[in-house]
Amino acid sequence: MSTDLPENSDIDAARIETARIEDEMEQSYIDYAMSVIAGRALPDVRDGLKPVHRRILYAMEEASVSAGSAHRKSSSIVGETMGDFHPHGDSAIYDTLARMAQDFSMRYPLVDGQGNFGSVDGDPPAAMRYTEARMAPIAEELLADIDKDTVDFSANYDDRLEEPDVLPAAFPNLLVNGSSGIAVGMSTNIPPHNLGEVIDATVHLINNPEATVEELMEHVKGPDFPTGANIVGRSGVHSAYKTGRGRVRVRAEFEVNEEDGRIVITELPFQENKARLVERIAEDVNDGKLEGIRDLRDESDRDGIRVVIDLKRDAMADVVKNQLLESHLESTFGVINLALVDGAPQVLDLRETLQHYVDHRRDVVRRRSQYELDEAEDRAHILEGRLTALNNADDVVETIQDADDRDAAKAALREQFDFSADQVNHIVSMQLGSLTSMEAQAIKDEYEEVQNRIDRLTEILENESELLGVIEAELLEIKAEYDDERRTSFIEDTDTVAHEDLIPEEDIVVAMSEDDYIKRMPLSTFSAQNRGGKGIIGTDLKEDDAVSSVFVANTHDYLLCFTTHGQIYKLRGFQIPEMSRTARGKSAVNILDLDDGEELTAVVNTDDIAVEDGDADRYLTMVTRNGYIKRTAVGAFQNIHRSGIRAIRLEDDDELVDVEVTDGDRTLVMTTADGMSIRFDESDVRAMGRSARGVCGIDLQAGDTVAGVAAVDTDRHNWLLTVTKNGYGKRSDIGEYRVQSRNGKGLIDIKTGERNGSVCAMETVGPGDHLVVMSRSGQIMRTPVEDISTVGRNTMGVIVMDLDDADRVACLDVIPREMVTDQSEADVDIDTDPETAPADD
């Protein structure tokens, strides 16, 4: 291979290796992945620490920044850690140090911080030059006995020092403080726990090596978060302990005070950012997604969290509470109990996690006992020598006096008494004062004490159950010292009462504008007036906006909303924000995501058709502007996603105009803008799939377009009601429209002309029904249909709504008689001369 190096390069061509890119990638990637997995992102099952935590704590230990010493500037600790053990960014080290000091992040903080270490509002800690830290007392328990050869050490990154591979960890820190980290191809997320509970479970496992996860769970009831709050249901916790994975639902602690009309939040789910939560709730209130909230305040202070939500006077606290629960006050903690076991990542159940800890402690206590035993035996050996010397004090003194120098004295003593080198060194350094009988007794006592210690340590080392007894006793000591009350409570999963059950059933009028502002108003807002009036203001509009549709429904109805572009959306009546008559409404984008120029054209109320079950005898019958008609079984609309689905295939320049629910046996009447209409049997239009275009329904004259379709149910409909854009209308007996075959030119329904304007819509109505008419400028009028005179087909009709010059009828809907009789104020004097009746507004 030729080398294309610059001529003056100092690179020795002999030291260039070639590698194929895929091989190099494979090797480098696996090195990288294993480095992150084993050396950075995952905690060790034994001490629950990632290397950075361990190094910070060990650096503090080496720098003697213990719980008993004074606080040390954080930057100094970070510097020690970085320079000696952790050759990575200082900010990463400081972030870790700061987190170990946060009482809202750590169930048992390992660092005792002084200064601003951040808050639950997500405020960052002060820079490391401002804050001070030292070890928390409990952190010293992690490091206890580290100098007694209890754990292995490895060379640090520059082979200058040694660092521990793991800490002795006198308590099960992995479960107690939890951990979370993202490695390569895997991640871990372990919740914190109550120290006392985890220790009890560990002790139980020590005494019952065959204990099951269920038995251990009698001690470890579930995670215990530093921020308290509640765990909802047990199944997630159970699965987390049983399999190492589970989803734990965590719910904020709050109080509903119906008397004062407020909800007060006092504890948040773990790792929830309070400031952001308050912000999110406020946003939803402003967007109309959350109703019934008057005010929102964060009154938290040094005594704890307190977020106050003031309710509107008429709001139902339970409804608001449930809405909050659904969107804000609950979060899920996805447990992945992944930790390093012998350097390899492993998902562990509760039993395995504790077993690995017990095994670690067994090593630690054994090594410590061995170390102490060695020390004790060394001491005993020295003491034996001194005792021999004391017992033969005269001979020893004499031997020393006879010697020429120290070395000769030592040699003579060793020869005479069989002392070891260590013993003889001690003896020649003995002070004469130690020959007193008091001192002699002290040495005897010490020797006895050391002998006892040796016996005890030997016992521990030789007898497994003694060893385990020591582990247990030490754990219980830690528990006695540091145990505290559980903070997180458990609540049963009483399945949040479905939202809708708490929303009163109410008849509503929904108005929507061309710019997609939508709102609902109680139907009772509008009392019936006589025809010919101006109506009242039904909505506020932005400049250049106009009303595009109005319909009548119930808050509990499932509404199928059809758009001019042939899309269909499904929503519930209560999802539409309730607002006053004079308000503008909220942007519909959150509930109906319409394109530019796409308008709601028909809303079908499905309270009586079972879309979900795919009711076979129900159809949605659609008509388009250019004269097509299509009938599709409702079963085709079972899965309507949030972003809507296609209801009909439209040709270019065609639009969906109107939709009716039919049952296969109706007759259908299509009507056009120019006042033509055609009535034919529903069976004349065969049922088709969702994406079909349909068949020709009416043969349109040049320039004419379809205005709507009406489905006749002769049991309840007596008349066809037609309303024109200029506010005129008429009622005609259905019998006047004879049944023809589809795709004819039809008959004249209403004379259009200059006074009437083109046809806006046709509806089938019966006795007792009311009509709601809304104009483009936002005027709305409700009138009994029987107030509109019955006249023949092919007539002019009468004034229905008195419109301003430039105003036009935008849309209308029928209030069925059942809804009318539900309301008491439905009685109007329909004999009053409509032309002279005063306008309401």
Binding site: M1, D10, I11, R15, I16, E17, T18, A19, R20, I21, E22, E24, M25, E26, Q27, Y29, I30, D31, A33, M34, S35, I37, A38, G39, P51, V184, G185, M186, A344
Partner: protein, 50 residues
Amino acid sequence: MDPENRILKRITIEDAAAADRMFSVLMGDAVEPRKQFIKDHATDAEWVDI
């Protein structure tokens, strides 16, 4: 970093298809093959930085 001891590596693409496959596994959208790769090769790591 020591000029006396360092080695240069010349990376070559001999088999573009094999290279592409490797990149897809290591940096593609699918997670499973990557997990499997790490599992299969975990013991091949040479320069692990702990």
